[in-house]
Symmetry: C2
Subunit: 443 residues, 2 copies
């Protein structure tokens, strides 16, 4: 379904609107039941609907209507059609405040359509759900518009991943822990050792050709810039492997086996000591766990790690409003990089033609670490998820709960129940149901 929403909710420059997409699942809905609203994040809403079976699992318990709302500038919800990503002036309305206001509009519309009421906030309660950036949005929706949603299940939402709140080295440190924990032998130290090997071998044209061949790149590695891209591509794959290191095969960012980090490390482990060529070949094989699990990938592109996420639009958000400082050190398995705001910001300006917002804006807008004035939010985090380092891991009050899934990956609790689920995630989902019942006053 589609709803017309204002392009700009907070100034009156124009009366332009655009179509925001949402998905509606009525099969579990019985009159009187609540509305479960997934606050969409940085991708096509279909992908999130297909990877958030938890809502479908529990909807029958509550007789709930399920709604998945797409985030503006992703999927089909692009305000300027094909032109959307061509000019800074078209991208300008891609901010969290605008996205939250879209959801508030949609909630009003649905209340009106389904229940014929607008002002009675309590009678037809909406519960927000979201994972990752979508979890940040669901928490912020409850914080900023507590009369629009009665509560929020914010899964793997790194709401504190901003300057001054989380040290920049925690993200890569957590990933290193995941590879150390799930990997065979010294998987993380082996990965750490590859960076020098890669930098060395790609110094020559011959070396770059070799690597292109054994790692099956669509386009050769021609310049040192391409090598930097290659390093980023590798890093992103490690990040993604840790994020989706689920205990059963999934198709979220890409098709993957159960515990892909473990499989990756098994394959990497096949190299011969002191033989860099076998190390690079082993790494090539290991990477295929991520890039070619189906066996159907023809070749690899260093510019792409996921087909489904709206990476351009997300980069814009990460460049402007949602600047999350990251750095790697000698203590993690990544190539060492410092956090340099100026450099980051300059690069963003080159890419998008706009300056980064006030660096503290997300903190000013959403209150930083002080959550005591808010209520009815569950922050759940898989502790084996890199993003958990920016999340809320301790209970804040009697109405703001932290639910930690000791062995969990990225928003694993929002996935459907599976025989391979660990006890931790099973318990986490029970806590979610308990919280929602409390908010809805169901005994």
């Amino acid at each position: 379904m589609y709803i017309e929403v204002p392009l700009d909710h907070f100034s009156l420059k124009n009366n332009e609107t655009f179509k925001l997409r949402y998905l509606l699942y009525r099969q579990f809905h019985i009159k009187g039941g609540p509305i479960f609203l997934y606050t969409g994040n940085e991708g096509d809403i279909m992908m999130f609907a297909q990877n958030t079976d938890f809502l479908f699992d529990i909807a029958p318990v509550f007789n709930a209507l399920i709604v998945f709302a797409e985030h503006r500038y992703y999927g089909e919800s692009v305000p300027f059609g094909n032109r959307t990503f061509t000019k800074p002036e078209y991208l300008a309305y891609l901010t969290t405040a605008q996205a939250l206001a879209d959801f508030v509009y949609l909630i009003e519309e649905l209340r009106h359509t389904f229940f014929g009421t607008m002002i009675s906030f309590d009678t037809y309660p909406f519960v927000a759900f979201g994972g990752s950036y979508g979890g940040m949005l669901s928490a912020w929706l409850r914080m900023k518009y507590p009369n629009s949603v009665i509560g929020a299940i914010a899964s793997s939402a790194p709401i504190w991943f901003f300057e001054g709140l989380t040290p920049c080295d925690k993200f890569y440190e957590t990933i290193t822990t995941v590879f150390a924990h799930y990997g065979t032998e010294h998987c993380n130290t082996t990965i750490k050792s590859t960076w020098d090997v890669i930098r060395n071998v790609t110094k020559t044209e011959e070396g770059r050709k070799l690597l292109s061949t054994i790692w099956n790149f669509c386009n050769g590695l021609e310049t040192s810039n391409d090598v930097d891209k290659l390093v980023d591509w590798l890093s992103n794959i490690y990040v993604n492997l840790a994020m989706v290191n689920y205990p059963y095969p999934t198709n979220f960012l890409t098709q993957l086996p159960a515990y892909p980090v473990k499989i990756f490390c098994d394959k990497l482990n096949s190299f011969k000591v002191d033989d860099n060529k076998t190390l690079l070949e082993a790494l090539g094989k290991a990477l295929e766990v991520y890039t070619n699990y189906t066996g159907k990938t023809k070749c690899n592109n260093v510019n792409i790690t996921s087909e489904d996420l709206g990476e351009f639009a997300w980069d814009y958000q990460a460049c402007t409003e949602l600047i999350m400082p990251m750095c790697s050190t000698e203590n993690d398995m990544f190539e060492t990089t410092a956090w340099d705001f100026k450099n980051y910001s300059d690069e963003c300006f080159r890419k998008f033609g706009v300056k980064s917002s006030n660096r503290h804006w997300p903190i000013l807008q959403y209150g930083g670490t002080n959550l005591k004035y808010f209520s009815n939010i569950v922050f759940s985090n898989g502790l084996m998820d890199p993003w958990s380092c920016g999340g809320v891991l301790r209970n804040v009050s009697s109405t703001i709960w932290a639910v930690n899934i000791t062995d969990g990956a990225h928003h694993v609790d929002l996935r459907g129940a599976d025989p391979a689920d660990t006890n931790y995630v099973v318990e986490a989902r029970k806590m979610h149901v308990k919280a929602i019942k409390k908010w809805l006053d169901i005994t």
Copy 2:
């Protein structure tokens, strides 16, 4: 002082900024004391600083720093200088959300300047104060940004004066009560009888000339449109007289004696029964209480009722976002008028070239009548203030208080202590101090 703030906090179309003015009073400030922030409303901030002595009266008790922040598009804080009011595209950033974000920016800047800290929200608490629309803003600031201000004293803040929340006839009904209560004899019924007389006499050119002369207008009443303006002008004067019917002489909207409604009614009462000319003459004399208390006014202009308020910018706000439905009926002393949204909206479009926002936007944005999720706000209202009908008159929770001043006019509690103060306002001010001490944890 001035601070550079972004023109548009919620989209990234441009990086334009403008200078927002604020006034700083340090004389009572001692290190460790809180910051009292007056959230400016629709006028030059100097006017509000000069009419809000309550802050100066209590600052020494708290060792508080006092800040008066000007509202964008008023006083000196006009984003486009002289051009500001010439085009819809310059006016577009005049919304409550942008104004609140300005205050949040200023709070950050002051924390940084005075205390060298940005993120520690609790250490240097800000308390918001505001009267009327400024009171709405102080309440909304606490509701939307609870980490920026520890609490808000929202005086005479009609936060429920929106469609569906307050019946449209309550405003003029309340004013009628004020004139009935403070006026001599049948002041309100006499006023009600004047409308037909005015409409009749102004049907002819001769009559319009007569009225122009005896009421001392700068420009004659030439068309029936001028007569409509005259009726609006009269109505506005009655509204203002009720609003500022303080128990001592004041100079807020204009220079006035103590209890101006009483003086007005005394003078109106001098007409002879069944003699319309003496009625109009008596009304002319009575109006001088408002228009010429100083004896220095040369002539009257039907387009102006207060020199100090930014009436054009306020009309824009009342036309776009803050649409407050008003109507008058046979039961009040005003000329009968219906509330017609379409008509209102069309008129606004003619005047400003922009369409009114979604009529429910203020309710969606600020939560309507459901305040239970918010905390630390005192809503005070003079019950003899017309705007009290859209205010919060009952306690909501242990942290949201209503303080009613039975005999009070518009935000009388924010004025300085005066020997003529009634007990009700004295008690209200004590409640404010009690609330602030509670928020600051001072025993």
